[in-house]
Amino acid sequence: MGRLKSAIDNRIKTLRFEHQAMTQQQLADEVGVTRQTIVAIEKGNYSPSLEVAFRIARAFDRSLEEVFQFRESS
């Protein structure tokens, strides 16, 4: 059935703390998703669409690769 862990790692939690300890709710509001979706992405339980991934990267003024990394071995 559904995979439990995404093949994509991310640095969202680290980047949130580097951005004045941005809360998950603040990031969710900026990106336009629910807080639960940010939680799921952070935990690797959900791979966001390309559009949401770009929105998250833009919220931190980073490139996509600086926020998300594809895990080849999975």
């Binding site: 969710a28 336009g32 998703v33 807080r35 799921a40 690797g44 966001p48």
Partner: protein, 145 residues
């Protein structure tokens, strides 16, 4: 627990209680050899109306409660791409249960020539499909998609 999970959990509970009671009564009628439209019609209508009323009341309470304490509904959308993906995938698997129900209903119709029995086979699989979809959604919310 998120607003969506509470909403799905409530729907699951309502479905199990109302339709569990419905099928218990249907089974009693069947055992008594009184499975006809006169006995089942009112029961079916009652179950549908009760489901609608309970859904409206509980979803309203959950929505009102969610807007007050959790920070949800204060700017971020109530549903996003992950919610839609979860619903889509759960419905995809649920459709197999419903499809099996249609096949079973056709077999029941051919074997028994009993319209009420066939109808209840179809309703049973429809409800089973709904329950399966709710459970899958809860699973996907908890364990990931």
């Amino acid at each position: 627990m998120s607003f969506r999970e509470k909403s799905i959990g409530a729907s699951l509970l309502i479905t199990l209680v109302v339709w569990g009671f419905y099928f218990q009564r249907v089974y009693q009628h069947w055992q008594q050899g009184a499975l006809d439209i006169a006995n089942i019609g009112g029961l079916l209508l009652g179950a549908v109306i009760l489901t609608i009323i309970l859904e409206v009341v509980t979803q309203s309470v959950i929505a009102a409660h969610g807007a007050v304490g959790t920070g949800e509904g204060t700017g971020a959308p109530r549903q996003d791409e992950r919610d839609r993906a979860i619903v889509y995938r759960a419905n995809y698997y649920g459709s197999y249960v419903l499809g099996a129900g249609v096949v079973m209903a056709v077999i029941a119709a051919l074997a028994t020539q009993n319209l009420v029995f066939t109808l209840n086979i179809l309703i049973m699989h429809f409800i089973a499909s709904e329950v399966f979809v709710y459970l899958l959604q809860l699973y996907f919310y908890r364990r990931g998609l």
